[in-house]
Amino acid sequence: MANRKLGRGVAMVGAGMSKFGAFADKASRDLFVEAFQEMRASVDKSFDPNAIENIYIGNYSSDLFEHQGHTAPIMADVIGLTPRPATRVEDACASGGVALRQGIMAIASGLYDVVLVGGVERMTKLPTAEVTDTLGSAGDTLFEIPAGFTFPGFYAAIASAYIHRYGMTPENLMTIAAKNHANGALNPKAQFGVTIRDWMKQRIEAAIKKGKPAPTWQTESDFLHDDSANPMIAYPLRLFDCSPITDGAACVLLVAAERAREFTDTPIHIIGSGQASDVALHDRADLTTLRAARVASQEAYAMAGVTARDIRIAEVHDCFTIAEVIASEDLGFFEPGTGFKMAEDGVTARDGARPINTSGGLKSKGHPVGASGVGQAVEVWKQMRGQAGARQVNRAVPLALTHNVGGTGQTAVVHIYERK
């Protein structure tokens, strides 16, 4: 494997995101403005938007979700930055992470010093059945979708192979959902920022209020095993194994490292970047790992000159609970077949040895697909600078990682961040 190096250093000097959720009255551009404004406010020293020279926007499918193509110039326009180049980047749910990589490469090449990277998706305007089909088109529409695969279906099939090989149970996956909701409950930007216990209590209270018989759940486990509360989506994945349909945007400001101090005394350097592609799911030798994520992370580690052991926190692509288990293995944190046990043991909890998805992850924070990869960078920015509020991890974070996946791993992109 080639050990690739950036032509020069790149630093993140601002980051922000919109509230993630379902917003009937917000178009993509409105969400993007919200993210941009928070990013702008996050820059510690003076920042004139005119300093931005180039723009990349991660977006999966505004065409199908909103019937709006050619999205990037619109985003440049709503923040008053035409005629700067504005380019949409699409790699399914990895669009945001890949846009970030494009921004890094644009600076590392020496062509630009200041680049804005955004990600945006408005998904809830479309009926759920059409969202299912739109997301499905990130799979192979000629050879996978005719078999009846949906996105939950793909990851369910991956889970079936993992369960068969490693003896995990569907109950193990519930641990991941519970952890991510516990983290998301401390994130004011989260779409479903509530613990599963509180969710259960709310459902009981709502039933009583309506004069209906109160559900008899005693524990989260009772709740998560109840088909009415947590219906099956694609066996063995239930509703609480799946990330939601979300509207949202996120935004980061990248600059040449040598100019970072003009913007802040606490820049976050991006020292590793890796990306890889892969074949359709059925064509892979091993269905229990995402090869693209392994290749991308190895490339990012080599570029950064660090190993998995050095990473303090990670935001990983938990589009489904099984995806977080596999990510924690693909990134080299845990041995293959042990990720679910580590989660059971609390290793990946916010106060564990290796916190994963302190933001709540895509599961609780929400998954506006083209924005998710940039949203992960926003969380890392906050945690590394000690600005994550109630969910701040209890130790310094000199090194962090983000892992963003497109499709079932036909794309993966990994970044490594350092606070120097």
Binding site: F143, A157, A234
Partner: protein, 138 residues
Amino acid sequence: MAQPFTSASFNKFLGEHKLMASRCANCAQTFLPPRAICPNCHGDQMEWIETSGKGKLAAFTSVYVGTTAMNAEGFDRNNPYATGIVELDEGVKISARLVGMDAKNPANIQIGTAMRVEFLDRGEGEAKQTFLAFTPAN
């Protein structure tokens, strides 16, 4: 005359109830779905081979919230469908519908189950389409 190595050719063969793969004349690797260029040696001399249609189940799910196309066939939350990935005896894997399996009790479905190919004809005349499926061999 040789059929081009395209999805249209593959589907035409499905319509004739043949599951066809491509094999590289240079390195002898077999590919399903068929490919025009060998990803192993990048050779472009492919030949069609008819698979045995026999294999075993490699991964599966039972889908309760389905695609629009499957919903139109009458599947829904109360009537889920099974789909999965089958590894053929030739060593290649393919996505396919699973029929003759208990989609309502997916915990009973076993990876490694011996499977054989089935061809599901849908529609008539010009609209006729054949879908790839597998069913337990025994």
